[in-house]
């Protein structure tokens, strides 16, 4: 019995952090309508600042804590005012999610540069000796954490319900337009909520750091756990956030103890998927009852990115020939393998473009399908001596089955909940690749994977792998381009921007979404298999959730909805760190910064901008027709 209690207490203290992150989510969500995925990174920044003030500078704990919170909030406000607030007012919900995912990557990159990649732990505030109640031993830091969380909830509650600032924040939550008419500066309110959320994050981070050691990328862990907690509790509900966080913490600890620590996550994630299926709005769905509206999102203006028909063939040929001769050129060391990797990743990004760029369905779990393809093909080829081709086919088939199952959950979900479900799927696959040690080799990975080969020919050099991926990518681009320029592409685009209007014309929205998901998972699975054959090795982190974010960055950088664009994103993010050696450390930060910057400054992406320029140039001759009717 006391063992059980001991576990529950451990779970509650872990859950306290999840609850705090969830509180930050809920606060920002209520004021801005956006789930800020960068929330978890502020926990790490808080712990990091605390480490410097307390351990390095030797300041007394209270002063160090205060200084850490203040500096994180100041930094948060800077990030908020330059990226989050301008983005929230102009981008549709799905894009804001991707943007905050970019912020998360950026902040992790900053932490990596400042802190390096080793874990850090802070000294407990009041010594190592636990408080003893009979048979129970409670670490004092757990009490600090519990007390801190309760104090934050109380302060937040007071602020929101008892002050005029709180009333203004609430007014934004209920109806931003009305709030603006009442003279409330809604942008300022957004910024304030972002800053408050940073404060909550920093505080919980420095409270938990003595219990759990943190490293630069712990932010993703906090973000995903907090996201799951709000999903359990109900997005926007403060009480729900706390209950959701504590539930998640306890459930994970119990699962770790009674089932297996390797599968603690798996169970929590399955719980969440079931929850999304059963009650997508959470247990305590709350927030103001908004007017049910015919349109689910504000209309977005998007540039039409089309190459003029006549120029297509020429450009495509030039591109394929140009890329084809690359391996024959004298390239600097390491460039050819990077080219092969970019091309393999591009196949997955191509699928992501069909799903995100064309059908408008955010997916934060694309790497999960890469993992399915990679592990299936690799395991079949190594342990069971299947031919690589059969392994690839089996991987694609398994990915399609998973995609169909996932679409049962995601079919009805939109915006945040869709993103959450795909993220959950990705994390679920992550936890399985780590947990199923007998099958996957666990965290240390799978070794001895053969080269890819068909009909006696082995693709065992970077050049042959590159050519193989290039040929496959070219075929897929040609096929997809044909599909996108006909009914299927039009249906996808209609679903992307206006599902109700699409349905009113007879488009079977659910089927279109499922088809897009199937195409993207099949391509991701294929890419994952090639990836494994290319490296002769596969470990969970090669195809884990950060890879999903990286592929989104590649897609956005290259240009959503352009098919070919992703190639340039993949090349940029893979080649640059190879070419400029010193850059490797800055890769994570640069990825996040590029994603955020592209969203704000170049929404059509590199290739999209190029196409627009060509289209404009092509039109210059025939401008006579150009005036619009009035």
């Amino acid at each position: 019995m006391s063992g059980f209690l001991q576990i529950v207490i451990g779970g509650l203290s872990q859950g306290g952090v999840f609850a705090a992150v969830a509180l930050g989510f809920s606060l920002v969500y209520r004021v801005t309508g956006v789930v800020n995925l960068s929330q978890g990174a502020f926990c790490v920044l808080g712990a990091m600042a605390m480490y410097y003030f307390q351990v390095v500078f030797g300041w007394p704990t209270p002063i160090a804590a205060f200084a850490a919170i203040v500096s994180v909030v100041a930094f948060g406000l800077l990030v908020g005012v330059s990226t989050f607030v301008p983005a929230v007012s102009t981008l549709p919900v799905s894009s804001t999610l991707v943007l905050t995912a970019g912020l998360l990557t950026f902040l992790e990159g900053v932490a990596l540069i400042v802190w390096g990649n080793q874990p850090y732990a802070l000294p407990p505030f009041s010594g190592e000796a636990p408080v003893v109640f009979g048979a129970l031993r409670i670490p004092t830091q757990g009490l600090w954490l519990a007390g801190g969380t309760v104090a934050m909830i109380a302060a937040l509650w007071r602020l929101v319900y008892r002050t005029s600032l709180g009333r203004a924040l609430q007014a934004c939550a209920e109806n931003a337009t009305a709030a603006r008419l009442m003279g409330i500066d809604t942008k300022r309110m957004m910024l304030i909520s972002f800053g408050l959320a940073a404060a909550i994050g920093a505080t919980s981070g420095l409270l938990v750091a003595p219990i759990t050691s943190l490293q630069f990328d712990s932010g993703s862990f906090f973000t995903t756990s907090g996201f799951i907690a709000v999903a359990i509790g109900g997005m926007g509900s403060f009480a729900g956030s706390v209950i959701g966080g504590l539930t998640l913490g306890v459930a994970e600890q119990l699962a770790a103890y009674y089932v297996s620590s390797l599968f603690a996550n798996t169970l929590a994630l399955l719980l969440l998927l079931a929850m999304l299926l059963w009650r997508p709005n959470g247990l305590f769905s709350s927030g103001p009852a908004r007017r049910v509206d015919v349109r689910s999102e504000a209309p977005v203006h998007r540039a039409v990115i089309r190459l003029p028909d006549g120029r297509m063939i020429g450009l495509a040929l030039a591109l394929v020939i140009g890329l084809g001769v690359m391996p024959l050129l004298p390239l600097p060391n390491g460039v050819l393998p990077s080219l092969a990797i970019s091309m393999i990743l591009f196949i997955a990004v191509l699928g992501l473009d069909v799903l995100m760029g064309w059908a408008g369905q955010v997916s934060l779990g694309q790497a999960g399908f890469m993992a399915i393809g990679g592990y299936t093909a690799a395991i079949l080829a190594t342990t069971y001596d299947w031919s690589p081709l059969a392994g690839v086919a089996a991987g694609v088939a398994l990915a399609l089955v998973c995609a169909l199952l996932l679409s049962l959950v995601t079919g009805k979900l939109r915006g945040h909940y869709l993103a959450l479900a795909t993220l959950t799927f990705g994390l679920l696959v992550d936890s399985l690749t780590v947990g199923l040690i007998d099958l996957t080799g666990g965290p240390s990975g799978l070794v001895g994977i053969p080269s890819f080969g068909v009909a006696g020919f082995d693709f065992d050099t970077p050049a042959s792998m590159y050519w193989l991926a290039l040929a496959l990518a070219a075929i897929f681009v040609v096929l997809l381009e044909g599909g996108m320029r006909s009914k299927f592409g039009r249906d996808l685009q209609a679903v992307r921007t206006d599902q109700l209007a699409a349905a009113a014309l007879g488009v079977n929205v659910g089927r279109v979404k499922t088809t897009a998901l199937c195409i993207s998972s099949a391509l991701a699975s294929l890419s994952g298999s090639l990836y494994a054959f290319n490296f002769h090795f596969l470990s969970p982190e090669m195809v884990a959730t950060p890879r999903s974010f990286e592929m989104i960055a590649m897609l956005v950088l290259g240009g959503e909805g352009t098919l070919v664009g992703g190639l340039f994103g993949a090349l940029a993010l893979t080649l640059l760190p190879t070419l400029v050696q010193g850059l490797a450390l800055y890769k994570t930060m640069a990825e996040g910064a590029l994603l955020v910057g592209t969203f704000l400054l170049l929404p059509e992406g590199l290739f999209g901008r190029f196409v627009l320029a060509i289209a404009r140039w092509g039109k210059a001759g025939s401008m006579a027709q150009g005036k619009l009717p009035t």
Partner: protein, 255 residues
Amino acid sequence: MTSPALEVLDVSRRFGGLLAVDQVSFTIAQGGLSALIGPNGAGKTTLFNAITNLFPPSAGEVRFLGESLAGLAGDRIARLGLIRTFQSARVFPGMTVLENALAGACLHVRAHPAAQMLRLPGARAEERKLRGKAEALLDLIGLLAFRDSAATDLPMGAQKNLEVVRALMANPRMLLLDEPAAGLNDSETADLAALLTAIRDTGVTIMVVEHNMSLVMGIADQVIVLDAGKLVAVGSPTEIQANRRVIEAYVGAEG
């Protein structure tokens, strides 16, 4: 005996405490052009939404060509040949004018997606035929010159016209148009009126929400009047013009 195109039977729609449509019944014969009029907030759009199950009726039933629409999803209703437009033009952003028009034909593409991906001759011929039809319709409404512009670059009135073209591309058996003339000037409105009568003459049943009385009285063969969610009158344009309750509803609303 052929069944009527549309039968609305005691349909109500409630939003919380508000009864936006209150026990409305009427029928529309096949091949007719009916106008639905009423002051702002009368429940006209809500009635359209109830018919197409966007906001399903809280009570009552809608039949289309004799078949009940209860519980049918939007795309199933479109499949039956009942196509609607929206009061605020909802062209698809990110697509050209021509692509928007073609999007309307999604139910009539026979070629398999694989054939389209492989650009097989049959698929390309079909695509060319649809394109020709779309261009002819765009020409009719004066939008052909802008076929390659972004649809959202068009002014509001032109976007609403494009939405009508998109609906026509679906080969509807009945069209529900929500204020298609909003944002058009007098001569454009006259063009639209000519187009609507021409469509009607091809055998398509039309029901149109419209505020412009001279347009309504000129083209409709049946007028349905709604006020505060309730059916006020149904009749021919001349009957409606002479109806005291209709005049009161309008004077009451505008005075």
